[in-house]
């Protein structure tokens, strides 16, 4: 059922082509679209099987998917919704194609997350123009996505420099999003918390190993160097629009509610909420993880330390209690078996 209009083993020769996945149960339609799209510009992969389309979208993501709405096995709206709901395929533009022009089909296409809607009979000039426009958007998104991946890789590299922070970013992303969900935050805020968990310390790329992994308290001058990391990190994320919501987290996750934090000495509600959450789970993870100069704290000792920070005016009480509640219920504590040690 699946056919390709261009057969070549030279994958490099296809990189400049716009890759289109056609999903249509009628061979006549698949044949027509292949003929309408010149091989000099388009690489067409076609299938009449919706499940195979899902597999192709994951294994060899196309630049654009052109999908029929009415198919016997599964309708295009459902398939579109599934592709747009998946983290791996949601950025692939989808054009839904139908033989009907009714407004309810257009509305359902929009609700399913489709990027475009085309009615049959297909106009060749219009079809090519829409595919070109959407593939440009896709390639631009890919570039942004790649840039974000570079930044995330950078953050994980920094984590790898210090054996004592192994898995720290993943845990922060998990703790922070769990708090966000408990606080009924929006999907966009949850995504920012997830990314913030990975990127909050990206500015530590500028901190020398001698300071970053020093087995003991830092001197005042070393502390000044260490305190530059939120500002450096914000600058690193600054050019990426996809990271706009993460920048305040990176810059302000070391602020305290009494204004004694850094880099800007913000106090109370001046501190961005998401930064406050990341700041809190950052401290929680530091306390419950082993350090060169102390063992990991138990959950009870961590709770005591965090409540002392509330008493000092550094943390929001309801956030601390929520985090501790989640931690007790979910068993978050990498140092649960550790003995209580010095917290400084």
């Amino acid at each position: 059922m699946r056919t390709r209009s261009v057969v070549t083993t030279e994958s490099d020769s296809r990189t400049a082509l716009t890759r289109v996945l056609v999903v249509d149960d009628l061979e006549g339609n698949r044949q027509l679209i292949r003929r309408l799209l010149p091989a000099s510009e388009f690489f067409v992969d076609a299938t009449g099987d919706p499940e195979e389309a899902l597999a192709i979208a994951v294994s060899a993501p196309p630049d654009v998917i052109l999908m029929d709405i009415r198919m016997p096995q599964r309708n295009g709206f459902d398939l579109c919704r599934q592709l747009k709901g998946s983290e791996t395929t949601r950025l692939i533009p989808i054009i839904l194609v139908t033989a009907n022009r009714q407004s309810q089909d257009r509305l359902r296409a929009i609700e399913a997350g489709a990027d475009e809607f085309i009615a049959k009979p297909l106009n060749p000039v219009e079809l090519r123009a829409r595919l070109r426009a959407l593939s440009r958007v896709k390639r631009y998104t890919d570039e942004l996505d790649n840039a974000e991946q570079v930044i995330v890789s950078l953050a994980l590299t920094i984590e790898a420099r210090d054996e004592y922070t192994d898995g720290h970013c993943q845990r922060l992303a998990r703790y922070a999003t769990a708090m966000g969900e408990a606080l009924h935050m929006s999907d966009a805020e949850l995504r920012a918390l997830q990314r913030g968990g990975y990127l909050h310390d990206v500015g530590k790329i500028a901190i020398p190993d001698a300071i970053l992994t020093k087995p003991g308290p830092l001197t005042p001058s070393e502390m000044e160097v260490m305190k530059s990391h939120p500002v450096v990190g914000e600058r690193l994320c600054g050019q990426l629009r996809t990271l706009a919501a993460v920048r305040p987290i990176v810059r302000h996750h070391h602020e305290r509610r009494d204004g004694s934090g850094y880099p800007d000495g913000l106090g109370g509600d001046e501190i961005p909420l998401l930064a406050e959450i990341i700041g809190l789970v950052d401290v929680f993870d530091a306390l419950t993880s082993a350090r060169p100069y102390r063992a990991a704290l138990s959950l009870e000792a961590t709770a005591q330390a965090l409540r002392e920070e509330v008493a000092r005016g550094w943390r929001r009480r309801e956030f601390v209690e929520l985090l501790l509640d989640l931690a007790y219920r979910s068993g978050w504590c990498s140092g649960a078996d550790a003995t209580i040690a010095d917290t400084t």
Binding site: G28, L32, A99, R101, Q102, P121
Partner: protein
Amino acid sequence: MTAVTREHEDTVHFLKNQLSIILGFAALLAEQVEDGSPLRADIEEIEKAAQAALGHLSGLLSPQEQPDQR
């Protein structure tokens, strides 16, 4: 939706799809034929007939299936 209505709509959908394929290939041919070629007039006849059939099919649809007139 009754079984008869469903069958009726499936048939209309099938015929519209086939006519769309005919019109699509006609448009493809038209792109490859130079202006003034006698073939162009033949292609236009195919297009006219297919469009007329499509219009007729749309008239057979139930009120819910009627094309958007806005």
